[in-house]
């Protein structure tokens, strides 16, 4: 029974002493999953200050807005009989909105890894059950998932518009699936490159600038040279091969060859050989950036 009031005055916090923990201790897999969830939430600013939410949430909204407009246009246009197909191929959406994706990646890849380096929190992770490989896997998975969400939600919005407009379901369902598969490849490639650049620097600003530069510069140069070779010299084969040189055009090439999508650049990869090479290079970029990340964290001094 409770003590009489005079012995237990109101407002006194009783020290109940130390209590041990005898509950379950989950293994490496559960810890890795917890780190994945924590990182994914962190990338969208959840569980962090309001200021950290502004940029990722804003970019997400900007990403969805054009898709929403296109969906409405599809529905209205189709009802009035002016539109017989979606105004933009689902697989081209990433290419069209690549500036938004680049800003999101540039801001949030350093958020996912640089902070642990800058605040020297890494030793606290690595003195716990998870291994360095688990850390890399969780961070890579988190950023890839975040990018996939960013890329796939607009596709789903546009697809919904197409369905509401009662355009041929079968044809556009396979298009939407192809675009979602393409979004997976985009997410893996961009997350790998973004994390790799961000993991090298403890300074968030450097990471942001480096990622923006790499993405924007490589795309600008590639598309300029493709134009030069393709239209200027009428050499579409060379223009096709040049697509290997920037992450965006590389994945677009994979979509063109593997998913039969319409190219968002002036020309897709040349022939079957070109298609296979684009796929292999994409796999190499994903595997390579993962391997380099592992090497980076194996070397890290604690």
């Amino acid at each position: 029974m409770t003590q009489p009031p005079e012995q237990a005055p109101v407002g006194v916090i009783h020290n109940i002493g130390y209590r041990g923990y005898s509950g379950p201790r989950l293994g490496r897999q559960a810890v890795t999953r917890a780190l994945f969830t924590h990182s994914l939430r962190g990338i969208f600013g959840l569980g962090r200050s309001g200021r950290s939410k502004v940029l990722p949430m804003g970019m997400f909204a900007i990403m969805c807005l054009p898709a929403l407009v296109l969906a409405v246009v599809t529905v209205v246009g189709s009802n009035q009989g002016v539109i017989t197909r979606p105004p933009l191929a689902y697989t081209s959406y990433a290419m069209v909105t690549q500036a938004v994706i680049a800003i999101f990646l540039a801001a949030q890849a350093p958020q996912a890894v640089s902070l642990d380096v800058r605040y020297a929190t890494l030793p606290l992770y690595f003195s716990r059950p998870l291994e360095r490989t688990d850390y890399v896997a969780a961070k890579y998975a988190a950023l890839s998932t975040a990018l996939f969400i960013l890329l796939s939600v607009p596709i789903v919005i546009m697809y919904t518009g197409t369905l509401l407009a009662e355009l041929p379901v079968a044809e556009y369902s396979s298009d939407a699936l192809a675009a979602l598969a393409g979004a997976v490849v985009y997410a893996l490639v961009l997350a790998g490159l973004g994390l790799l650049i961000a993991s090298v620097t403890a300074r968030r600003g450097f990471g942001v600038a480096a990622i923006i530069t790499v993405l924007a510069l490589s795309y600008t140069l590639t598309s300029a040279m493709q134009g030069l070779f393709g239209h200027g010299q009428d050499n579409m084969t060379a223009a096709g091969w040049l697509g290997l040189l920037s992450p965006m055009t590389l994945v677009d090439g994979v979509q063109v060859w593997a998913f039969d999508a319409q190219s968002s650049t002036i020309t897709g990869p040349p022939g079957t050989t070109g298609g296979i090479v684009f796929c292999l290079v994409t796999l190499a970029v994903i595997a390579g950036s993962y391997r380099l990340l592992l090497a980076r964290y194996r070397r890290v001094r604690l």
Binding site: G20, Y21, A30, H38, S49, P123, P129
Partner: protein, 305 residues
Amino acid sequence: MSVIATNELTKRYPGVTALDRLTVEVQPGVVGLVGANGAGKSTLIKILLGLTEATSGRCAVLGIDTATDGWRVREQVGYMPEHDCLPADVSATEFVVHMARMSGLPADAARERTADTLRHVGLYEERYRSIGGYSTGMKQRVKLAQALVHDPRLVLLDEPTNGLDPSGRDEMLELIRRIHTDFGISVLVTSHLLGELERICDHVVIIDAGVLLRSSATTEFTQASQQLTLEVTSGTDEVARALADASLQVRHDGSVLVVELAGDETYDLVRDAVARAGTGLVRLQPRRHRIADVFEGEADHDPAT
């Protein structure tokens, strides 16, 4: 069972031998690890956590081999690094909950343990504020909390009193002592201030340049030589002569006398000598042999007895 056992543990970096065939065994309790900067303290802790591989030799923590089962060791051990390691933009609660989950605790248990642990280290309302605004003392408490939150069987504390003011230092030492006495968790604590370790440790391990100098119970250090410090108002020389006549070993140490304690009768002899000299007794207390004396003696390779 020994908490830590190393056998011929050696770690060589290019050009430097951080640990040189270190063989030491540590029993449950509060154990101090003493050594100058670069003596190999942090290297030893990293090997104990399985963060660094030893060049040769074996090492077991809680009976688990650190080289082969590193993650099983890390599940049962807490680590408080010497350097700053806290993100500035999250609150102490959020941070410690996350760290608890990283130790394998389920979400509910992590929250519950975080609330408990932060209270035990003395963080109350401020735990909801961002860590960036904390004082050094509060940050040290958060660092300690994240090391304790998963109820480990052993915590490794690297220089926990670094950067604290004298009162903060005392509170931290008191807390470290309680980790063992109240929480039942064994502690390995490093410091370069020997006086601190003397106060809280059951056992002290001294290493220098990666070599074990000495490993023994604190009582052995402090009771190695039993002496009394005696201070009188006047007639110090007279008292000293009287004590020497009573066949006690007496020497001057500044204005006080240091008397060898031969047995309980020594106290009576001192009392009588002071009374006969007709002077006032200001101070009579056991003079403890400081670890520092032993350490300095050993470091000069001049075996202190």
